[in-house]
């Protein structure tokens, strides 16, 4: 188990290095630091201000090879944007925003709590609702219940998330006035009122695709031979579903759940920005509007880190959930 974990984490680290390479290519090689600086300080700024800005934001070094140092010197390769990028990202030294000079790390820490208070309930409730309905549908397979839920799912899948948000905010927030339209309060006794609507909309917009997928998984499992054995033993329908099918089906569902984590992030991007929740999603949207490359770069990096971490966790929980998976 330990050896497996070490190997898995090592591969995760290699992937992180790959992601950093991708970010370097995108944000330093394709997007020219000179352009970024020019945009940030304005066209009419003096050369002095321009150079100072570049220095402050760590854009003042050459890309890969620094010819200021001699050919033999090690600093020739370490005193560069490439090396700095890796060093700073790996030590979580994110520097300052290109847009307003505020420290990025502080803003991310401040945004994490509101973000998590939205995405965690969304994630848990969404999974619960999805699995519950899928079980229900699988239970009533080949009846009109099954067919009508399937049609419903198909319709739900075809609606853009933007429309769910606009429609939900209008219908529930403005017409019915059940919840405030937007805003956030860190006090948990008040926060739930602000979070209810985005969570509800998030769950509904993911409903169609989830239920359809989980239903397929459940149906595949109900056709397996061990289900017949369970019935022959005298298990009732409900026991077959909960004690036998669910346990097996959770294994593929687990994989899907982790694959859904980045979607959670992206879903939250829209939800946060629409409902005025000051989380990481809002931060990203602000960065896009403000041409804030350093913040955006950091957000992509954090998103990838979370995803890689999630993948490692899934693989580990996989080995716990499925006795057939042997650690190599």
């Amino acid at each position: 188990m330990f050896a497996y974990l070490v190997r898995r984490i090592a591969y995760g680290f290699v992937t992180v290095l790959g992601v950093l390479m991708l970010l370097f290519v995108l944000f330093f090689a394709i997007a020219d630091p000179d352009d970024i600086a020019r945009k940030a300080v304005g066209e009419r700024a003096s050369a002095e201000v321009y150079e100072q800005w570049k220095k402050n934001h760590g854009y003042d070094k050459p890309l890969i090879v620094n010819t200021d140092h001699g050919a033999a010197e090690f600093a020739r390769y370490t005193d560069t944007l490439f090396f700095d990028h890796y060093r700073r990202m790996l030590t979580f030294d994110f520097g300052r925003s290109d847009a307003d000079d505020s420290p990025i790390a502080g803003r991310i820490l401040a945004g994490a709590v509101p973000s998590l208070s939205l995405t965690v309930p969304l994630f848990v409730i969404g999974l619960g609702v999805g699995v519950f309905f899928a079980l229900l549908v699988a239970f009533f397979r080949d009846t009109y219940v099954d067919r009508s839920v399937l049609v419903l799912c198909m319709l739900a899948m075809s609606i853009a998330s933007l429309i769910y948000i606009i429609g939900g905010q209008y219908l529930i927030g403005m017409l019915l006035r059940w919840f405030p339209i937007s805003g956030f309060d860190p006090d948990p006794t008040v926060a739930y009122r602000f979070l209810a609507l985005p969570v509800l909309i998030g769950v509904v917009s993911g409903f169609g695709a989830d239920v359809r997928l989980y239903r397929t998984v459940f149906l595949e499992e109900t056709n397996r031979d061990y289900v017949r054995t369970a019935r022959a033993k005298g298990c009732g329908d409900i026991r077959v579903m909960t004690a036998h099918v669910l346990r097996n089906a959770l294994i593929p569902i687990l994989t899907n759940v982790v694959l859904a984590i980045p979607f959670l992030f992206t879903g939250a991007l829209l939800l946060e920005s629409f409902f005025g929740i000051p989380g990481l999603g809002s931060l990203t949207v602000e960065a896009i509007h403000g041409n804030d490359f350093s913040t955006l770069r950091t957000m992509v990096y954090i998103g990838a880190l979370l995803f890689i971490l999630g993948q490692i966790l899934t693989d580990v929980s996989y080995t716990l959930a499925d006795p057939r998976v042997r650690l190599r």
């Binding site: 080949d142 054995t229 022959a232 298990c235 346990r247 097996n248």
Partner: protein, 327 residues
């Protein structure tokens, strides 16, 4: 004469197809006395498993047993039993062993717990007591290191051990009737012999009635008291083991027996049956064996074959036999 333990009368199982429903089991009848072993024999796809599943009321959708079927088990009308009654019956008085032990055990549940579940579904005993009984059962069916094996997962066991787990699960509640659906087909030859031996011992010790489903006459020879031969959903011949194996009357039974390679008879040509079982949609209206029967003649194709009493208790359904017996 006492009532038989199980009576199947005119049992039909149908599946929907392009034009209406096709009967994959067509009005078959047989009965089983207490303590008896009946072998239901036929090629794969002839409907013998479906007949057994009809008895368990476990026919997979969209198939169903027709209303005309009458199944009486221990005086109870199985076709009319409620869902709850049926559930109480299954796994308690009526148990089943399946063909492929590889896929029939739940892969993520420890094997011991699967047997415990079978016990605790029907008897209100504590987990500890059920566990103790399971370990005893494991020892009884010849699983070495029963204590440790209790908490292993199926994929770590060999095919033979898995089938032993299946058997212990099926006999855990001392059922009145045990249905063994091809219990040895998926196993290695040496393991097959061990499993057959185990079944015979259990049958002798517990006095269990067994409905044995197989296509293997060696298995029939080992275990069966009586034999019923099916072809394409129809019963073609019934009789005691001796009658069937030594004096087969129906051309299909003759063909099946002729196709067995005997180690002793090298050089003899096997008399294989020509062709294969046609799919249900292409079954002839009359005798379904017509296309492959060496003795087929004009009435075979269109009309159902008559019932002919052969020697002793034997019965066969055949036009050719009817003609030979002078009708």
């Amino acid at each position: 004469m006492s009532k038989p333990l199980l009576e199947m009368q005119n049992v039909s199982v149908t599946f929907p197809s392009g034009a209406g429903r096709v009967a994959v089991v067509d009005e078959i009848s047989f009965s089983l006395d207490e303590g008896e072993v009946l072998a239901l024999v036929g090629e794969s796809g002839c409907g013998k498993t479906m007949a057994a599943l009809a008895l368990m009321r476990l026919i997979p959708k969209p198939g169903r047993a027709e209303k005309t079927s009458r199944i009486t088990f221990d005086g109870k009308d199985v076709m009319a039993a409620s869902v709850d009654d049926m559930r109480a019956l299954r796994g308690y008085d009526l148990s089943m062993i399946f063909q492929d032990p590889m896929t029939c055990l739940n892969p993520v549940v420890r094997v011991g717990d699967q047997v415990v579940e079978a016990i605790r579904l029907h008897e209100s005993v504590s987990y500890g007591a059920a566990r103790k009984r399971t370990i005893e059962l494991f020892e009884r069916v010849g699983i070495p290191d029963a204590e440790q094996r209790f908490s292993t997962y199926p994929h770590l066991l060999s095919g033979g051990l898995k089938q032993r787990v299946m058997i212990s699960m099926a006999v855990a509640t001392k059922p009145r009737l045990l249905i063994a659906d091809e219990p040895t087909t998926a196993l290695d030859v040496t393991v097959q012999a061990q499993i057959l031996e185990l079944l015979r011992e259990l049958q002798r010790d517990l006095g269990t009635t067994i409905l044995l489903i197989t296509h293997d006459f060696a298995v029939v020879n080992e275990l069966a008291d009586r034999v019923a031969v099916m072809y394409a959903g129809k019963m073609v011949e019934k009789g005691t083991r001796y009658e069937l194996l030594k004096m087969p009357r129906h051309p299909y039974t003759e063909g099946l027996l002729g196709a067995i390679p005997h180690a002793a008879q090298r050089g003899h040509e096997l008399n294989e049956i020509e062709g294969v079982v046609p799919p249900p949609a292409l079954w002839p209206a009359g005798c379904r064996f017509t296309n492959r029967c060496p003795k087929a003649f004009e009435p075979c194709e269109g009309t159902l074959p008559p019932r002919i009493e052969t020697s002793g208790t034997g019965v066969a359904w055949c036009h050719a036999l009817a003609k030979a017996s002078g009708r």
